[in-house]
Symmetry: none
Subunit: 404 residues, 2 copies
């Protein structure tokens, strides 16, 4: 799609406010006993009422049949092409722990691993050491390896055998091969630059790898070395201020979603972890921004656990708390998900997600239930998630006419 070619010539600023509410993993599949999905089972009077007053449809997160991770799911909801704008694994690992990753930094996922004295990998996860042990190792490395060739090294615990590493400095490029051989019983692979400008990164990472092995060799942990993976950098994309002329804020309890919002140049609200905290933050910040991204994580978790009934309960609980969004005045608002997480699959899925667009400038249809099957009959039809931003902008009258 060619939005990028059109947008700079038609986007305009006005005072209208937009709200994008993302119920993480909200879509589902029918329960084998009842034939009803989680949303069809749940009693969600507010969402049903909102659907009745709005245009409804379904949104395909990436492409038909493609199951998105949280990164692509949100990148699409923010109006970027999720295939063109990919976020590296190293970056996602850093974002997921709220690490202070800057635009020029190189981000890496690390696995502590067991090596023999010939650098053969004997356990890719070092026996899944505890997070406590991880923290001790990270402290040891932090204390001893602060800088290499003028580049600052920062390492953080994620959990168990996993850590995140940042190289901080300028002029670094991420196109570097991983040392992870992907299987056990074979030696670490050499870290090599895949283009000329990434040679410095490769050299620094090789030296880091050697220093870590030397340091951990004297230690009694099973962790004797480190696998360096997903070497990447924040995508250099125009943020909301530049792209949409929007003063945008992210209200999200989980670091990952705050991180992806930072990639899109949003401000990050400080708020507590509960939906009540988030709603309270939305209310407080209402006067200060013109775009609000409200992320509700709870709806996803029980889907991943395969707990159909708990997901139903959470949907009902979240529904009751959301009523406030109708009382604040938004020129346009959307309620949808970043992807589906059907309890029967215990995982994210590719299914289109129900979508509500509410605005005085859109046509209400005769859909009265916020469910996968009802919304699929709505007037919006089936659109791509990355189109939602453009409908929200249009309904908030922030897009001028294209061509005369």
């Amino acid at each position: 799609m060619d939005y990028e070619k059109i947008l700079p010539g038609i986007i305009k600023k006005n005072d209208n406010k937009i709200l994008l509410t993302v119920l993480d993993g909200v879509g589902g599949l029918p329960n084998i006993k009842t034939g009803k999905t989680e949303l069809e089972t749940a009693n969600v009077p507010f969402l049903d009422e909102l659907a009745a007053e709005s245009s409804c449809g379904t949104a395909t997160p990436v492409l038909n049949g493609i199951t998105p991770g949280s990164g692509p799911g949100h990148i699409a909801l923010f109006g970027y092409d999720p295939v063109e704008t990919q976020i590296g694994r190293g970056v996602l690992e850093c974002l997921g722990i709220d690490a202070p990753l800057e635009k020029e930094d190189i981000a890496i996922r690390g696995n502590f691993a067991t090596l023999d004295d010939k650098r053969t990998v004997t356990d890719r996860r070092a026996g899944r050491i505890s997070t406590e042990e991880n923290k001790k190792i990270v402290a040891l490395i932090s204390g001893n390896i602060k800088e290499i060739s003028g580049i600052k090294i920062e390492i953080r615990t994620v959990k168990e055998h996993r850590c995140a590493i940042m190289l901080k400095g300028s002029g670094l490029y991420p196109n570097v091969s991983e040392n992870d051989p992907q299987k056990e019983g074979v030696p670490l692979k050499p870290i090599t630059a895949l283009d000329r400008q990434s040679e410095r990164t490769a050299k620094i990472l090789s030296e880091f790898e050697n220093k870590v092995i030397e340091l951990l060799g004297k230690n009694d942990s099973k962790a004797k070395g480190i696998l360096l993976r997903g070497i990447s950098r924040l995508p250099h994309i125009p943020g909301f201020a530049e792209k949409y002329k929007l003063n945008a804020v992210c209200i999200a309890a989980y670091p990952m979603y705050r991180g992806v919002s930072k990639v899109a140049g949003m401000d990050i609200a400080r708020c507590g972890e509960s939906v009540d905290d988030e709603i309270e933050t939305l209310r407080e910040l209402y006067g200060r921004y013109d775009f609000f991204f409200l992320h509700v994580k709870k709806t996803d978790s029980y889907g991943e656990d395969g707990n159909f009934d708990a997901k139903v309960r959470i949907l009902e609980e979240v529904d009751s708390k959301l009523r406030i969004i109708k009382k604040l005045k938004f020129a346009s608002m959307a309620v949808t998900g970043d992807h589906s997480t059907p309890a029967v699959l215990k995982a994210h899925s590719w299914h289109p997600v129900p979508l509500i667009i509410n605005s005085p400038n859109t046509i209400p249809d005769d859909i009265k239930e916020f469910t996968e099957r009802e919304c699929a009959k709505g007037i919006l039809g089936r659109i791509y998630s990355k189109e939602i931003m453009y409908l929200l902008l249009a309904c908030a009258l922030k897009l001028d006419k294209f061509g005369a």
Copy 2:
């Protein structure tokens, strides 16, 4: 979409006739008092009857959320990509006044402006001089500046401070910067070529600018110079004869739509301004062409004025006059709009437009009303406007099988 890759191998000529009826700005939004759109309010028995016998759907003019001008709206209905094939503002200004613009000409929008003796723009619209005064200035310029460096210069009044200029000759390219500083209190910008092949155009326009300033300096009008804007050329695209093997004619009362049809290589019918005149012309020309573009302007105007009731009345009036199109034999015909113009927005909008495709070779659905909400449930679903031409060609059996 990949139509361009397929079409040349499958398009074929036969005697079947196609009619594309465009009700300009036909789509709307609900009236706040009744909850009904203009089409839902109007009594349009012919369009409803046609819908009942046809496949229905809705058409997105450009992209979700993007509001098209008349140019992109029609370019899409003619089966071209409206983002790839953009028509410059200078070209549209010329087309809008029926100026004789040829394929190689350079077209420019002009604003008469007030300048001080240092060429500082003090009023970008020369106090919005009257159209009468404009005509006198245009006559003065026409009488004194007929040619520069072998290139013929033609200037025409549009209205008030606006005029259109054509450079007629070959070997001219339009990639030239505008002299309009876009604000007052600053001097005219230099006109410069943005690529090497446009250098000659830049030189001629600079000379034209100087001559106009010299000429108007002696005059007592507030117009002391000219802002040259939207410097462009007709898009060089294959016309209907080449692209579709169609012998096509445009029946339109307004110059702009005749102009866009000329871009697509259609013949332009001479006809009066009323819908009755247009219908009569359609009947007369029926035997001479195999594609008819019938443009009804009246449906748009009251939308732009925000006059909901008048738009309803016009829809009813037009409906009663259209009945004849069913009596003439067309292998396929479409009724749709180039965009919506909801009275509540007083402007073009991005909303998908109701669409009827009528042909013995398409499946009638159970839609019995030509409205935004009913057509949205039709068998065609929601398509892009640029796909309509291909459905019309297919239904008229003018497209061979693709691949064996």
